[in-house]
C-alpha cells in the first residue's frame, strides 16, 4: 500500500540553512547536507530545499549545493526557489535533484509547466501554490512569496497547472502558515478530491494530530513542515509511529 509522506522542508540562503536550528547530533545545523541527511536517517520520506538567495550567484551556488546533497542523501528531494526556465531545471536535474518546484514563474508563464513536463516528465514538476482565504470566503493565488495577490482562484490555477502537466501540487495556506493551528483542511480537501495528482499540504503543522487530520479529513497525499522539525517540537520517528497507530499508512 502506498504510504502517506512526511516531508521536511529546509530554507536555504547562500548555500546555508536559514532558520536557526539547535541539534545536538550534528556538527553544523547550518549545513543543508548534514541536516538533510539527519532527516533522511530519521525516516523523512522526502526533503524539500527551498532557495531564497537573491544574488546573481544563486544559480551556481544552488547547483553546487544540489550536487552535494545528491551525493549524500538516499531519498528523493525537491528543489525550489526562483526557478524560471528549462535551462534552470536542466542544471538542477543534471546535478541530481529529483524534482523541482515552480511557483511565480509558472503563474506568469504557464507554458513553462508544459515545457518542463514534456522535456523532463510530469513526475519532476511540482507546482507550488501559495494561497490565502479572503473575506469573501474564496482561496486566491498569491505570488512572490505571498507578497502579491492575484484575482485567480487557487482551485482554478491548480486545475490549469495539472492540465499543463504538473505532476504534484505543493499547497501552502498563508492563513495557516506559522500559526501552528493545523493545516488548511478545506482547500486541501477541495484540491485532493478534484485533481488526479498527489497533493502536498503545507503550512500550520503544530501537533501530531494536525498531520492525522490533514491525511484523514483532507485526503492529503503528503504533509510538509519545517520549523516544528527544526526546533524538535515533533520528532519524525515519533510522528510516524503515532500516525501508524492511528491507522495511517506510513513507512517505518
Amino acid at each position: 500500500m502506498l504510504t502517506k509522506r512526511i516531508i521536511a522542508c529546509l530554507d536555504i540562503k547562500d548555500g546555508r540553512t536559514v532558520k536557526g536550528v539547535n541539534f545536538e547530533n550534528i556538527r553544523d545545523a547550518g549545513d543543508p547536507v548534514e541536516l538533510g541527511a539527519l532527516y533522511a536517517q530519521q525516516g523523512a520520506d522526502e526533503l524539500v530545499f527551498l532557495d531564497i538567495t537573491a544574488t546573481n550567484e544563486r544559480r551556481k551556488t544552488l547547483s553546487e549545493l544540489v550536487n552535494k546533497i545528491a551525493h549524500h542523501i538516499n531519498i528523493p528531494f525537491t528543489v525550489g526557489g526562483g526557478i524560471a526556465s528549462v535551462d534552470d531545471v536542466s542544471l538542477l536535474l543534471q546535478n541530481g535533484a529529483d524534482k523541482v518546484s515552480i511557483n511565480t514563474s509558472a503563474f506568469k508563464h504557464p507554458n513553462l509547466i508544459k515545457e518542463l513536463s514534456s522535456e523532463f516528465g510530469s513526475q519532476c514538476v511540482v507546482l507550488a501554490i501559495d494561497t490565502k482565504r479572503e473575506a469573501d470566503g474564496n482561496w486566491y493565488v498569491y505570488l512572490n512569496g505571498g507578497r502579491v495577490k492575484t484575482d485567480i482562484l487557487c482551485i482554478d490555477w491548480a486545475q490549469k497547472g495539472v492540465d499543463l502537466g504538473a505532476g504534484e501540487i505543493l499547497l501552502t495556506s498563508m492563513n495557516n502558515d506559522g500559526t501552528k493551528q493545523g493545516f488548511a483542511l478545506d482547500i486541501t480537501q477541495a484540491l485532493s478530491s478534484k485533481l488526479p495528482v498527489p497533493i502536498i499540504a503545507s503550512g500550520g503543522a503544530g501537533t501530531m494530530d494536525h498531520f492525522r487530520d490533514v491525511f484523514e479529513f483532507a485526503a492529503a497525499d503528503a504533509a510538509l513542515a519545517a520549523s516544528i522539525f527544526h526546533f524538535k517540537e515533533i520528532a519524525i520517528p515519533e510522528l510516524k509511529r503515532y500516525l501508524t497507530e492511528k491507522g495511517i499508512a506510513m513507512r517505518l
Binding site: 545528491a70 538516499n74 528523493p76 529529483d98 488526479p196 497525499d221 513507512r251
Partner: protein
C-alpha cells in the same frame, strides 16, 4: 569489475551514479557500444517519456545492442518499461525482452488512487538473488504513471489499485519499477545485490 551505465536521455543517470558511489562502486556512463559490450554489469536507467526514449535509443542503435547483452542488465523505472514488449505511453514498441506490456494507470476516482503514483510502497512475492536480505513488504520509492502487468517474469509485486510487476527478470535481464537509487537502505542493498549477481 566493470560497471557501465548506459548514457541516453534518461533523467536519473546522475542519481544512479551517486547511489553507486555511496556503496563504494564506480561506474562508467557511456553510449559507446564496445564499452557496453565489455562491461561485467550494465545499468539501464530511465526517467522520462517512452517514445522519446525509444527513438533516442534507435537513432544510436542502442536498442539492438541492449537486447544482445549477455551480462547482468538492470533496467530502472522507464528502463525496465522499455525492456517490455510495448507501452501504452504514446503507443510505443519497446525492446521485447520481458513477456509483458506496459499499461497506463486509469480510473483514479474509482480506484481511489492518484496518478502518477509518487511515494513509498511495498514490494512482495520477492524472487531471485536481486532481493537477497530484503524482507517481504519492504518499502521502495516509486514515481510512475504506467505499470507492467504481472507475468511469468515477475519477481516482485506491488499493489496500487491492482497488483502489478514492481520487478521483472528474464535470463540475464532484470528490471525494477521502483528507484533503488532513491529507496534509502533497502535500495542500496538491492543495488549491492545486483553488483554481486553471477550469471
Amino acid at each position: 569489475m566493470k560497471l557501465v551505465i548506459i548514457k541516453y536521455n534518461a533523467g536519473n543517470i546522475q542519481s544512479v551514479l551517486f547511489a553507486l558511489e555511496r556503496i563504494g562502486v564506480s561506474a562508467l556512463v557511456t553510449d559507446d557500444p564496445s564499452a557496453i559490450l565489455a562491461a561485467d554489469k550494465v545499468i539501464f536507467p530511465g526517467v522520462g517519456e517512452a517514445s522519446t526514449a525509444m527513438n533516442y535509443l534507435k537513432e544510436r542503435n542502442l536498442d539492438q545492442l541492449i537486447i544482445q547483452l549477455k551480462q547482468p542488465v538492470l533496467g530502472i523505472c522507464l528502463g525496465m518499461q522499455l525492456m517490455c514488449k510495448s507501452s501504452e505511453e504514446n503507443n510505443t514498441q519497446c525492446l521485447g525482452i520481458f513477456d509483458t506490456t506496459v499499461k497506463a494507470f486509469k480510473n483514479p476516482h474509482a480506484l481511489k488512487i492518484k496518478i502518477p503514483q509518487i511515494g513509498w510502497n511495498t514490494i512482495f512475492n520477492l524472487k531471485t538473488d536481486l532481493f537477497n536480505q530484503i524482507k517481504e513488504n519492504s518499502f521502495c520509492y516509486f514515481v510512475h504513471g504506467y505499470y507492467a502487468a504481472i507475468c511469468d517474469n515477475t519477481i516482485a509485486s506491488t499493489n496500487y489499485g491492482k497488483e502489478y510487476s514492481s520487478a521483472l527478470q528474464k535470463n540475464n535481464f532484470y528490471g525494477t519499477q521502483f528507484h533503488p537509487e532513491k529507496s534509502a537502505d533497502i535500495g542500496e542493498q538491492i543495488l549491492k545485490n545486483f553488483i554481486n549477481l553471477t550469471v
